[in-house]
């Protein structure tokens, strides 16, 4: 039913995402789907990575670690945003369309102070894409 599942991740705050990651892994095994881990970063240095390349390396490492746990094929997609605090929804929607995923599994309640995936994001993303969206509350 689903061939490619996307999970937006915030590498700085993985704990609240644990449930969404588990759900995505279960679904991927069930449908024999690929999991695409998407991370949004600015081009300016951030606490997590000094360059987008460094961010890509970290996301790659994270995806491989996930693959080792669930055994399905994975990919890591770095989404560049000029202004992550403002256009996160827009860049995620674009990434979903470009990467041809058919299901998005999103964690919904991340630490408010980062604003990286506030509850409203899931709803906004859902209204702007054709993909199915599964919102996972922690």
């Amino acid at each position: 039913m689903y061939n490619k599942i996307m999970v937006p991740v915030d590498l700085a705050h993985l704990d609240p995402l644990a449930k969404a990651l588990e759900v995505a892994a279960d679904l991927a095994r069930h449908y024999r789907a690929e999991v695409c881990y998407a991370g949004v970063t600015a081009t300016a240095p951030s606490p997590l990575a000094h360059t987008p390349q460094e961010y890509q390396q970290k996301l790659d490492a994270f995806s491989k670690q996930q693959a080792a746990e669930h055994g399905q094929p994975v990919s890591a997609r770095v989404v560049i945003s000029h202004d992550p605090a403002a256009d996160l929804d827009a860049v995620l929607v674009k990434a979903i369309e470009e990467s041809g995923v058919d299901l998005v599994v999103m964690g919904t309640h991340l630490p408010r102070h980062l604003g990286i995936l506030m509850p409203s994001h899931g709803g906004k993303v859902a209204t702007h894409t054709d993909a199915s969206i599964l919102l996972v509350r922690p």
Partner: protein
């Protein structure tokens, strides 16, 4: 990135996270406290504040005229050298990086942040002021003569051409280089890491960042306050809308609300959008003035403005044995202090949108393109104004009584006055919006320890504060309070001149190391 290579600063490393906020401690709280203190000072003792802060500004201009002049010239030569030297090939963000914005949008954003409103008012008022000896004439040229007209255009170009943009170029390039090539946070202190190392994390760094925040917010807020009274003056002149405090506050509220919308939407959805709108309207107004003012005169004007600039740039850059002290202190040195006090804001914003450009491309676009655009703009607006003044046509024949109305006096002599003047007022308002939104983003960056993804509520706070400061000062202390804080902002030009000179050294060092690293990697 290897461990021993890791930068000494990390974005947000000294941040405090409470109540959904994420800010640098102590830069955010100390900046906020200092802002509050200065506002109270200007409101409770407007006259004392005005004379004391005015004295600070006067003192720095009077005693350090030579420093401002030498530094201004040095920045131009420094930037030109980087354009021609092999160092110019270094790309911001590394060899693989690619620009994030189209050239046109990129240019629209840096121009809107850097010049904007000032150019609107002064492109008309300044040449006429020099020509009619309103406050001294450049190089003591005789007022009202052909020689005086040529010096007037040359001097106006001198103040709006290479020199201000070299100042912005130095700051912008330093911040961009240390952020994108060295992985340092996008904040002012980062430019000093090659010299100060870990100490940039301490009080030297805090002080630089806090002064930058104060200069930016007071520069923006007082410009907004004065601009609101100027725009209200324009509305009164054109449409007989009474120029009351109410009208002025309404303008401030309107600008602030739209700027809030813009910062909320972010760089792509807000700032870029308004900068592009801005450019289109400015172009329309320019074309109109060129066509109705006389195309032939304009084409001649392009040549003569350029020649006036070229022939006067060297004598005007000189600081030794000047006989026009009144003029050169009142205009040139004041402008240099003013541009330098704006440089943390404009430089940082330019840096934010310039990843992926080479050093050469960056400086060419920041230095040469705005200068060319200013020549075009000045030939049309200043040229028309001067010829009206010389021919004794309209209000400008009597010189400039009210600076904010000079633009409308000039447009009055051309067809479709109501339409073009309305367009001019609209343009002024949009210029305010583009300065206010980009300024709020910059202050937010600095006070969030260089993080570009701090919660949106923080940038909303700064944008709101700017409008509130403008409104409160206008309401509580009138133009005296505004002048006081503006003088305070300009007075930061002196310490920042030193900061910028050190920054040049630091940048040259960084670029040199980068080049060596790339050569080693290639070998």
């Amino acid at each position: 990135m290897k461990q021993d290579d890791a930068p000494v600063l990390t974005p947000g490393q000294d941040n405090t996270q409470i109540m959904g906020l994420d800010f640098h401690n102590p830069v955010f709280p100390l900046s906020a406290l200092a802002i509050l203190a200065f506002i109270l000072y200007a409101l409770v003792y407007p006259d004392a504040a005005n004379s004391q802060l005015g004295a600070a500004r006067g003192w720095s201009i009077e005693h350090f005229d030579w420093l401002f002049m030498i530094a201004g010239n040095f920045f131009v030569l420094f930037c030109l050298a980087l354009i021609v030297l092999p160092l110019g090939r270094i790309r911001l963000g590394g060899a693989q990086a690619r620009p994030e914005y189209s050239r046109l949008s990129w240019f629209a954003m840096l121009f809107a942040a850097g010049m904007g409103i000032g150019l609107m008012f002064w492109s008309v008022a300044e040449p006429v002021a020099y020509y009619t000896d309103w406050y001294g004439t450049p190089l003591n040229a005789a007022a009202g003569t052909a020689e005086g007209a040529s010096a007037a255009m040359g001097a106006t170009m001198f103040h709006w051409g290479l020199h201000p943009w070299a100042i912005y170029g130095v700051v912008g390039l330093s911040l961009a280089f240390f952020a994108y090539n060295r992985g340092l946070p996008l904040t002012l202190r980062s430019a000093f890491t090659p010299l100060l190392g870990r100490h940039t994390r301490g009080w030297i760094g805090h002080t630089i960042d806090i002064v930058a925040v104060l200069a930016t917010i007071f520069g923006l807020a007082t410009s907004l306050g004065f601009g609101a009274s100027q725009a209200a003056g324009g509305l009164a002149y054109l449409f007989n809308i009474p120029n009351t405090l109410g009208t002025q506050i309404a303008i401030i509220v309107l600008v602030t609300v739209v700027a809030l919308f813009s910062v909320w939407r972010g760089i792509d959805g807000g700032v870029k959008l308004f900068s592009n709108i801005n450019m289109v309207i400015a172009l329309a107004l320019l074309l109109f003035v060129v066509i109705t003012g006389g195309t032939l005169m304009f084409v001649n004007g392009l040549v003569s403005t350029t020649l006036d600039y070229v022939t006067h740039i060297v004598p005007l850059s000189n600081w030794i044995g000047r006989e026009d002290t009144t003029w050169y202190h009142g205009w040139t040195v004041f402008y240099w202090a003013w541009w330098i006090s704006w440089s943390p804001f404009v430089g940082m914003f330019i840096a934010r949108v310039s990843r992926g450009r080479t050093v050469r491309e960056f400086l060419t676009a920041v230095l040469l393109v705005p200068t060319l655009v200013t020549i075009v703009w000045m030939s049309a607006f200043g040229g028309n104004a001067l010829s009206q003044s010389a021919a004794g046509v309209g209000e400008l024949a009597n010189g400039i009584g009210d600076v904010s109305l000079a633009m409308f006096h000039m447009l009055e002599q051309l067809p479709l006055t109501t339409l073009t003047s309305s367009l001019a007022i609209l343009l002024v308002l949009i210029f305010f919006i583009t300065s206010s939104d980009s300024g709020s983003l910059v202050i937010d960056n600095i006070t969030a320890g260089g993080k570009t993804d701090a919660p949106r509520s923080q940038r909303v706070f700064w944008a709101t504060l700017e409008g509130v400061i403008a409104g409160v000062l206008l309401y509580g202390g009138g133009s005296t309070a505004l002048s006081a804080l503006q003088a305070g902002a300009v007075a930061t030009g002196l310490p920042f001149t030193l900061v910028l000179l050190v920054m040049c050294f630091s940048l040259a060092l960084g670029l040199h190391q980068e080049q060596r690293k790339q050569r080693l990697a290639a070998a």
